[in-house]
């Protein structure tokens, strides 16, 4: 298997804190992989390492076989690696369509402004934000702002899209919508790494789960295996649940 994304013994320190600790993993083209882990496990940091925002302090990151460990974020973005932000990051004073057009123009394939705006409208329709296109981004509801992150990510024309807790703060109907959208994106040929707190949500879309705990990758496998792994149950759901389950 030639991996689309490969991490080799990747670590990231912040001073004395090791936020990501010696993580090795591969993601193949076409997969939908779920990344789970409790608060502070290092999930967002892992995304930041891959996208070059907080470069690895140890180990190697390879994208399509190319070493991108020390490549600046804007170049990584242009090479087809997109991410959404856990804390949404719109350009607040721009309209929704301008936000998405920026993604299409600078990281996507759009040649020139006109083409970028055309592509942006397409992605807005795809993500169900078409009606909000001309609204100023800061006036959107949280659910729509999360959608805007999707649309921006898609407009970057990614090979791999990393979704950092796109469902946090949404109600169950909105989560359903988002998951449907994720499946639609995957069907269009984009490889997806979906980061979630809620295991149930991830299980509905991915056939492979990764679990981080204290920066370490403690599980990597099929949902059945991972959810029955004692270490995962302990780390992720707490000791009490583990004991109950082991009974």
């Amino acid at each position: 298997m030639t991996a689309l994304l490969e991490l080799r013994n990747v670590s990231r320190r912040f001073g004395g804190l090791v936020a990501v600790n010696d993580v090795t993993l591969k993601i193949a083209e076409g997969e939908i992989v779920g990344l789970l882990g409790p608060n502070g496990a290092g999930k967002t940091t892992l995304v930041n390492v891959v996208t070059g925002v907080h470069p690895a302090t140890g180990g190697q990151v390879l994208f399509e076989g190319r070493d991108i460990t020390r490549v600046p974020p804007f170049r990584i973005a242009r090479s087809g690696l997109a991410r959404t932000f856990q804390i949404v990051q719109p350009f607040p004073k721009m309209t929704v369509v301008e936000n998405v057009a920026a993604a299409a123009l600078f990281a996507g394939r759009a040649e020139g402004m006109a083409e970028a705006f055309e592509a942006a409208r397409r992605h807005l329709d795809f993500t169900g934000l078409g009606d909000a296109a001309d609204q100023v981004a800061s006036t959107l509801t949280l659910a729509k702002r999360k959608r805007l992150e999707f649309a921006k990510g898609l407009a970057m024309n990614p090979k791999l899209l990393m979704l950092d807790e796109v469902n946090a703060g949404l109600n169950s109907a909105e989560v359903e919508d988002a998951m449907r959208l994720i499946r639609k994106i995957a069907d269009s040929g984009v490889t997806i790494l979906i980061i979630e707190h809620i295991m149930k949500v991830v299980l509905s879309v991915s056939r492979r789960l990764l679990v981080l705990h204290h920066g370490e990758l403690i599980a990597d496998g099929l949902p059945e295996e991972v959810t029955n792994d004692r270490r995962v149950i302990e780390a992720y759901l707490g000791k009490r649940y583990a004991e109950k389950a082991g009974r």
């Binding site: 974020p73 990051q89 719109p90 350009f91 721009m94 057009a101 920026a102 600078f106 020139g112």
Partner: protein
């Protein structure tokens, strides 16, 4: 299309001054173009990119001295102006790469330090610049009123050029990228914008404009000294003008420059001894009460009028 129309109106209005106005009016119009040019230049880095630069006085003085030194070596005046612009652009690229990774106050202070450093360098390089004695750069063999017109049209040309560049940039990929950076630099970075390159480009544009205006100024006043051309007011005034007129807009800097000059003249005449304090107070009040600039008020008015009609 509309900005280009306003540009033509602006040029036409200015070009009429030497025809109908007296020497006082011509002098005021020259200063107005100087101010508008400074404000438009500052707008690239301060308004579009959102980086509060105080380096304008450094570029102004650098441009003035490059032009003065080359003129004293016998080069034609136009060549010295171009050299001033190019020199400052290269200088800004180097400085920009060093300080544009700083944010907010840190960047502001670093850019301020550039002014002090350059002033000291010019003070020390006495052989070339005359140091604290200043430099005389006479322009022999040309009647005074012809000179006055020449420098007015030079300033006007530069301002129009900067206005044209502003219109082009604000509609281009560069302007779009700068807007992204000013609103959320981290998001811009992760969206594939080469933020360093974009910021340096804005800084260079800004330096080029200010330096050429400084060079024309030096030729106009024919005597420069470090405290005059490296005056920190050249950093502060454009910032105030842009805030008055509207940050990051196309005509805001020009509107702000006109308002600023009007205030300066009015206050100067009526409060001779305390004019600096009065002017300062007025500016603080205006910026506080009209945070989006007077340009925004005018825009809102016309919009509301349009809705009513």
């Amino acid at each position: 299309m509309k900005p280009w129309l306003w540009l033509v109106v602006f040029v036409a209005a200015c070009a009429l001054v030497p025809v109908f106005g007296n020497n006082y009016a011509l002098r005021l119009a020259t200063i107005m173009c100087l101010y508008a040019g400074l404000a438009l230049s500052w707008n690239f880095i301060g308004g579009m990119a959102g980086y509060p630069s105080f380096a304008a006085a450094a570029f102004f003085g650098l441009g003035a001295y490059v032009s003065a030194v080359l003129q004293s070596k016998g080069l034609p005046i136009g060549v010295t102006w171009a050299a001033a612009g190019l020199g400052a652009t290269v200088f800004a690229a180097l400085i920009g790469m060093a300080i544009l990774h700083l944010k907010g106050h840190y960047f502001a202070i670093a850019s301020l330090a550039v002014v002090e450093v350059l002033r000291e360098v010019v003070n020390t390089a006495e052989d070339l610049t005359g140091g604290g004695m200043g430099m005389n750069i006479p322009l022999p063999g040309m009647p005074v009123d012809v000179q006055a017109r020449l420098f007015f049209f030079a300033m006007l040309t530069m301002t129009v050029l900067l206005l044209a560049v502003t219109i082009v940039v604000s509609r281009s990929k560069l302007g779009f990228g700068l807007r992204c950076i000013s609103q959320n630099e981290d998001a811009a970075d992760i969206l594939g914008i080469d933020t360093t390159f974009y910021k340096v480009a804005a800084f260079c544009l800004s330096a080029f404009g200010v330096a050429v205006i400084g060079a024309i100024y030096a030729s106009w006043v024919q005597y420069i000294e470090p405290p005059d051309v490296f005056d920190i007011l050249y950093s502060v005034k454009p910032l105030v003008m842009v805030l008055l007129g509207g940050l990051g807009t196309i005509f805001g800097p020009v509107i702000g420059a006109v308002i600023y000059l009007a205030l300066e003249e009015l206050v100067w005449r009526n409060f001779l001894t305390v004019h600096a304090a009065v002017l300062g107070g007025l500016i603080v009040a205006l910026v506080l009460f009209l945070p989006n600039g007077i340009g925004a008020v005018i825009r809102d008015r016309t919009k509301r009028a349009a809705v009513r009609s």
